[in-house]
Symmetry: C2
Amino acid sequence: MPAPSIDFFFTMGSTYSYLTVMRLPEVERASGLVFRWRPFHLLTILNEMKHVPFADKPAKMNYMWRDVGRRAAMHGIPVKLPAPYPAKQSVFANQVALLGMREGWGQAFIREAYRQWFQLGLETGSEPNVSASLHAIGQDPAPIMERARSDDVGQALSNETDRARALGIFGSPNFVVDGELFWGDDRLEDAVSWAKLRRVK
Amino acid sequence: MPAPSIDFFFTMGSTYSYLTVMRLPEVERASGLVFRWRPFHLLTILNEMKHVPFADKPAKMNYMWRDVGRRAAMHGIPVKLPAPYPAKQSVFANQVALLGMREGWGQAFIREAYRQWFQLGLETGSEPNVSASLHAIGQDPAPIMERARSDDVGQALSNETDRARALGIFGSPNFVVDGELFWGDDRLEDAVSWAKLRRVK
């Protein structure tokens, strides 16, 4: 029986998702598993929960940057911290990412937008990050940014957010294996283990 | 240069701290490091932050039990979930634990109280958990429970909570190595690595 694919649900405004976005290609290669990249708009779900992960909690936010920095170093991922946070236009970043996943340039855009955010200090979802990221991956920014603002893409993002909520998702990144939810970059290895062995090792 | 000791700051009402309490003796043996067990009253800090980790967030709470269950299985720790939550008298559990750390029976009590909570379903800090846990470790419950309610112990718990806050602590369990904070049972190995190498590996 082939190993199942893993749904990678993430939101472009998430800090810890930077680690996953940067290391997932190597995890895919090493594990032989396929990850489906599925952007959704976490902020909708957080607002429904009345939950603010970091922005109004200074101790938690300070810890988050320190922890992200330590783990980036562990994985050999460059990082300049703190990055601008929270990202005010994360919904637009998610719309562009979703459009990109449809059109085949999504992973390249997502990695470049995160690189600009976490290595150059340019806020994701806002200018110049979006245009520059699209340009860097060889896409023409203007028509893409217009399509990303369409009702069609907005509705698709809303549908993906509904699917995330139905799976019990409340944060980012997430890995879903046959309905089993793993939350956090630090659960990526648990998800890989689950896909292969149906247990965490 | 000898490896530094690690401060293990925890609160008896914490669910993930069950995993740490049960596996810490083996981690101490394997690492050669010394952990100082320091109960504090997290609820004071959470109230100041206006932060409720799980109780008003059903998706997050459901995930927490599932994650604790998977990781308990990974570590070979027995568990019957969900355990009663939140524990209404966690302050008293912390007072008894702090008194026990002073008097030399603290770790035994803490492990037994967690065992009764997470394996037998008896809420920590309330009866019959406290009396039965003290009895099980060969202590006379009545005089201990009276001493645990003293102003002296209450003040000491408040002081430890102040120290936790000053270290940037906002959850449980925590591992502090020379001022470097690691939060979560899943960061225990990071703390051990930091104590030995001054980096996370």
